[in-house]
Symmetry: C2
Subunit: 406 residues, 2 copies
């Protein structure tokens, strides 16, 4: 139905296996397409876990369950289904999580509090726990360390391509691996700007350190992207550390190296999500400089990235930068109106509070006609800066969300 | 270019003349279409004025000037141009306001601080003050008490029909008249959800009372509508009271009657703006009940009305109410998830935290296929309620804003 994003990679990425992590997928009929929609991930004993979740007050049942499990800090399995978000499904929805977790705990011989759940898809449609539970024994029998690519495909909904990436990182304790999966497409907005993302590493890291790393990395990645300004009921970012590498427990400088690699990996996944934004024809980078504070830099960048009028102007290829001024104005960020400047593709269109009467219309139109758009704004109010990534708002977005049921 | 909104009135409204108020319009070449784009309104000596303006930090030069004039509380003229917002036009933009006000003050023999300015149209395009000043003497010679309908046409930009209405009101002091003009279409969001609106009355009211009435009426009208969540640099709502009616200065119960009539008039104009929302095919009323506080009721209603995913679902005619749950979740309003309920067109789709397995799919589809959509949400968290009006998000919105320059 949806044509593949023009920003899709030419070939499907094959993520690196992570020692101790095994995947199995299946179709249990939640996706209308009949494709795989059920993912089981097995994790070895001693796996530490960290998580970040949607701030929605109507969060889905799996999110509530993850939050309740997290203080224990230990995971043995992850169960994910796509096609149905299990959000606003009342008592039946809670039963899906409980019964699924209990069945997996039985199979793996662990506490149900070590089983993590996530879901994505349509909201408010109930289904019986049996729909998942009946497949679990079969799934547990087919676990495969090389199943990462299939896992990335299984969690897709309106995504037009699977998203995964890996990093090999050297620490003073030895080499470690990180592999991350993500799915996005729509309902993408800060805070917690992803639908689902799962990262696995064979590093040995204490749960509290793991959570601190994840918070830092999330702030610099998923919190800096936007597709449509809507926030999912299901946003879930989980990080599992199996401790199966030869490296000893990471701390100090090694932990910093890990956090940097994790940030880099999440940034790549976050940008893949934007590059698969629903109906995308243009990828947009918004740089805000000269802000009074970091918070105001982010707020101005988000206002520009989130404005339907900015996004439609870019869809049309017009250098209609007045809408950028408008968006900054509504952001609440302090602005020195008489000194504010705007560049498009490096070309000044406004300088020190005045429009630039430029002779570079051709260059400007060429930039706006391209696929990668760069907006730079200087608020002239301080020295803080930030960057947010987004995509344009097109007929395609309306079509996907108005005329197809997801 | 833009087809006329399906919600346009069949015949153009002819607003009632207001004693002491005279209009003249002209084309000075700011609108690409060549239509009238310059409006001069003359007001008699002793006219009181009140105003509400955009909260944008990149407000246009005319807004800054109105704000500066307002403490004086007295007006003799209003000059409005459309097609160019005179926003982010630097020193040249300020000169347009100063020189225009000075020239009108000369003609009318008043202080330039009694001349009010407003503008709407493209942002960041400079023009010379002469473009307006050269027409002022001619305009002043053609002032006409019956020019209200032409005035409403002149201030239009992407509006597909002119917006005006009048009220005749009986007070204990005698009858008074109110006539209001408005223009909207895009960049419509609270707070101060209009581009331009001007209200004239022949009542005699002290400036401080007038401002208090306007604040109340604005909160109940323009602050309750949304088209696209963007906020204009030029939003201006001005209320002029000429005091030329036979009624004495209004106070007490008469002032309350006036405030009620003003609220009713602004509500009608606000709904006309929504009914001319860019690309509209469906008019949406969002009722939120059971909120913990008034502020939370408004915030939840605005989140629903502003969500691109809700608005595209409605464009497609789908009862995809999970997106309403999502929007409430991101609003920050307190929600009793296990007791929350949602109706569409009066038909329950979620009750007490559970989806309704209903047998009324036909009724539901009939309602969603109609032109007037009614969303009701009960947050089950308290007793506060509010209502917000909006429109759907369509191909038409994208087309107007991506592929035509405004």
């Amino acid at each position: 139905m949806n044509s593949i994003s023009p920003f899709a990679p030419e070939t499907e990425y094959q993520p690196l296996p992570v020692s101790g992590v095994r995947f199995a997928t299946h179709s249990c009929g939640l996706k209308d397409s009949g494709g795989d929609d059920l993912l089981l991930v097995a994790l070895p004993e001693g796996t530490a876990v960290a998580g970040v979740f949607t701030r929605s007050s109507t969060a889905a049942a799996p999110v509530d369950a993850c939050r309740a499990n997290l203080p224990l800090g230990v995971a043995r399995a992850l169960i994910v289904h796509s096609g149905n978000a299990n959000a606003f499904t009342g008592k039946m929805g809670e039963a899906v999580v409980w019964e699924t977790s209990a069945a997996i705990a039985d199979i793996f011989g662990c506490s149900p509090r070590m089983v993590y759940s996530a879901a994505t898809g349509i909201i408010g449609r109930s289904f019986s726990p049996e729909k998942i539970v009946s497949h679990l024994v079969d799934l547990a029998g087919r676990l495969d360390a090389n199943g990462g690519a299939a896992a990335a495909r299984t969690i897709m909904t309106t995504d037009t391509f699977p998203k995964s990436t890996s990093r090999k990182v050297a620490t003073s304790q030895g080499n470690i691996v990180l592999t991350g999966l993500a799915k996005g497409a729509g309902m993408i907005a800060p805070d917690m700007a992803t639908l689902l993302s799962f990262v696995f590493t064979d590093a040995k890291i204490a749960p509290t350190d793991l959570q601190r790393s994840l918070n830092v990395a999330n702030q610099k990645s998923y919190s800096k992207i936007s597709v449509d300004g809507d926030t999912s009921t299901n946003d879930t970012l989980l990080l599992f550390a199996t401790g199966q590498s030869t490296a000893e427990t990471l701390s100090g400088a090694d932990l910093a190296v890990f956090t940097e690699a994790l940030t880099d990996l999440l940034k790549e996944l976050a940008l893949l999500i934007v590059r698969d934004g629903e109906g995308i024809t243009k990828f947009i980078k918004v740089d805000v400089n000269g802000a009074r504070t970091d918070a105001e830099a982010l707020s101005a960048a988000r206002a520009i990235a989130g404005s339907p009028l900015v996004k439609t102007a870019i869809a049309g290829g017009h250098p209609n930068w007045g809408r950028i001024i408008m968006a900054v104005g509504k952001s609440g960020a302090t602005v020195n109106k008489r000194n504010m400047s705007v560049n498009l593709g490096g070309i000044p269109v406004a300088r020190s509070g005045d429009p630039v009467a430029h002779n570079r219309d051709e260059d400007l139109n060429a930039h706006m006609g391209g696929r990668e758009i760069h907006i730079e704004v200087d608020l002239a109010a301080g020295t803080a800066s930030d960057t947010v990534y987004t995509c344009d708002l097109t007929y395609g977005y309306v079509e996907i969300n108005a005329f197809y049921k997801t």
